[in-house]
């Protein structure tokens, strides 16, 4: 009994890491950072964490959790309610179906995969928000946000990779 409890406690951080980092990404994405010109083009950090953990720890990242984080992001950010949730779930579905192409390969391949997924996600978000708010927002900030998202993915993935390597894989 005691041995079992010890085992679960040791596994806790490894099980919770994908969920906690994604929740942190959602919160950081809405923090009033006050950095000039960054607010309107703040990259969707949770898209990066969902992409990364779906490849590296899919067992610890249930789709219901992804959906929940998406709803929280929409509630905090004021976007069309459900749009981020829908995008994250679809991204997770797509990435998990192609996971074998990324696992154990060079990071460049993972980045290339993200280069395909992020623009599609940005365009879907643009369209869904236009449908719900009744007007298309200018594409300029959306494109700047997309470029920032693609450029920031390697450092974010590097940090997540450190966390991934530091934690044991739960049995």
């Amino acid at each position: 009994m005691v041995a079992g409890l010890e085992f679960r406690w040791r596994d806790g951080p490894a099980v919770l890491a994908p969920l906690l980092t994604t929740f942190t990404a959602v919160l950081v994405g809405t923090m009033p950072l006050g950095i000039p010109f960054v607010g309107p083009v703040m990259p969707p950090l949770c898209l990066m964490t969902v992409f990364f953990w779906t490849i590296h720890r899919p067992q610890q990242f249930p789709r219901v959790a992804t959906f929940g984080f998406g709803l929280v992001a929409d509630a905090l950010g004021g976007q069309a309610f459900g749009s981020t949730a829908l995008i994250l779930v679809v991204v997770q579905l797509l990435v998990s179906s192609q996971r074998r192409f990324f696992v154990g390969k060079h990071f460049a391949l993972t980045w290339w995969g993200f280069l395909l997924v992020a623009p599609a996600a940005a365009m879907v978000a643009w369209f869904l928000n236009a449908a719900v708010h009744g007007a298309f927002v200018p594409l300029g900030p959306v494109l700047v946000q997309l470029v920032l998202t693609l450029v920031l993915f390697p450092p974010v993935a590097w940090v997540l990779g450190l966390i991934d390597q530091a934690l044991p894989r739960p049995v």
């Binding site: 919160l27 950081v28 994405g29 809405t30 923090m31 009033p32 950072l33 006050g34 950095i35 000039p36 010109f37 607010g39 309107p40 083009v41 703040m42 969707p44 789709r63 219901v64 959906f67 998406g70 709803l71 929280v72 929409d74 509630a75 905090l76 950010g77 004021g78 976007q79 069309a80 309610f81 459900g82 749009s83 949730a85 829908l86 779930v89 679809v90 579905l93 978000a125 643009w126 869904l128 928000n129 449908a131 719900v132 708010h133 009744g134 007007a135 927002v137 200018p138 300029g140 900030p141 959306v142 700047v144 946000q145």
Partner: protein, 291 residues
């Protein structure tokens, strides 16, 4: 052994369940969006409850961000301290002269009002709130503040900073409220040109600039004209500065907001109601009087 048998039995069903779960999640997301588009109170309630629940966490997280920003500002100001000092001394001399003019005009205005027996203007009270979250993205321009229904905040109230109008409240939870900024695509504020008194609608388009819609055809706005709220509608007090005319582009008058969005930290939510026209909006708390 039994476990292996169960797994062999359950394996085909697992895929079906997983596919159904994805379909269900997609359906729920689409339903939420459709309800949001229709302005459903249920979705609004779910959103405000989520934000209210996370409010303590947002509050804690926003402090380090503010601390870091203030630190960066302090370092930047350190290098400009002599120039700032000189500028502020000159500004102070100019403002003291203006103070004399304002006092004289105030007295004159009061005397004229007494002579003409003009009905007193509605008074506004305010609740000061801190910004705890922003929309963080390209699609909406909103901020969340840490004052809500419990503090007397209601939908439609004007939100101002020291420089001028910030936006208006569009969603209210118990402890938080969402403010639609002037720059948001859906923001429409009734305004006037201060110099000519021409009425118009100040509209945002998700950029850093605003446009004046429905300005009379014979109006001639000039660069530097102040744009102030007209008070039409009864919820936003008249005379609040909203922006400065910066030019004309494609037939539209372009206005620059007065508020520095990057340094926006505290705002005042105005509780303003014209007596006898709209019911008093305050439900709780005793706010300070603004004027």
């Amino acid at each position: 052994m039994k476990d292996a048998q169960f797994r062999r039995f359950a394996l085909p069903f697992r895929g079906v369940v997983q596919r159904s779960a994805i379909g269900l999640l997609v359906l729920v997301a689409v339903t939420f969006m459709a309800l949001d588009q229709a302005g459903s109170p249920a979705v609004e309630s779910l959103r405000t409850r989520t934000v209210d629940t996370l409010q303590p966490l947002l509050e804690v997280l926003s402090h380090p961000a503010t601390f870091a920003r203030r630190g960066a500002d302090d370092i930047s100001r350190f290098f400009h301290v002599y120039a700032d000092n000189r500028r502020l001394r000159e500004e102070n001399t100019r403002l003291l002269a203006w103070q004399d003019v304002a006092r004289r005009l105030e007295k004159e205005n009061l005397n004229l009002r007494n002579l003409a027996t003009i009905a007193p203007e509605a008074r506004a009270a305010f609740t000061t709130a801190r910004i705890v979250a922003t929309s963080g993205g390209a699609f909406v321009r909103t901020v969340l503040v840490n004052a809500g229904r419990q503090d007397g905040v209601t939908k439609g109230q004007a939100v101002v900073a020291a420089e001028g109008l910030v936006g208006r409240v569009v969603e209210v939870g118990d402890r938080t409220a969402r403010v639609l900024l002037l720059t948001d695509l859906n923001s429409r504020i009734p305004v006037r040109l201060e110099s000519t008194r021409d009425s118009a609608i100040l509209a945002g388009d998700n950029s850093d600039r605003l446009r004046l819609n429905f300005l009379p055809a014979d109006a001639v706005p000039t660069q530097g004209d102040r744009v102030i709220t007209s008070g039409e509608g009864g919820q936003i007090p008249p005379g609040l500065p909203a922006g400065l005319v910066v030019g004309v582009e494609d037939g539209s008058v372009i206005v620059r907001p007065l508020v520095d969005w990057q340094r926006l930290e505290f705002v005042n939510v105005l509780d303003y109601a014209v007596p006898g026209v709209l019911p008093q909006t305050r439900e709780a708390g005793q706010p300070d009087t603004l004027w």
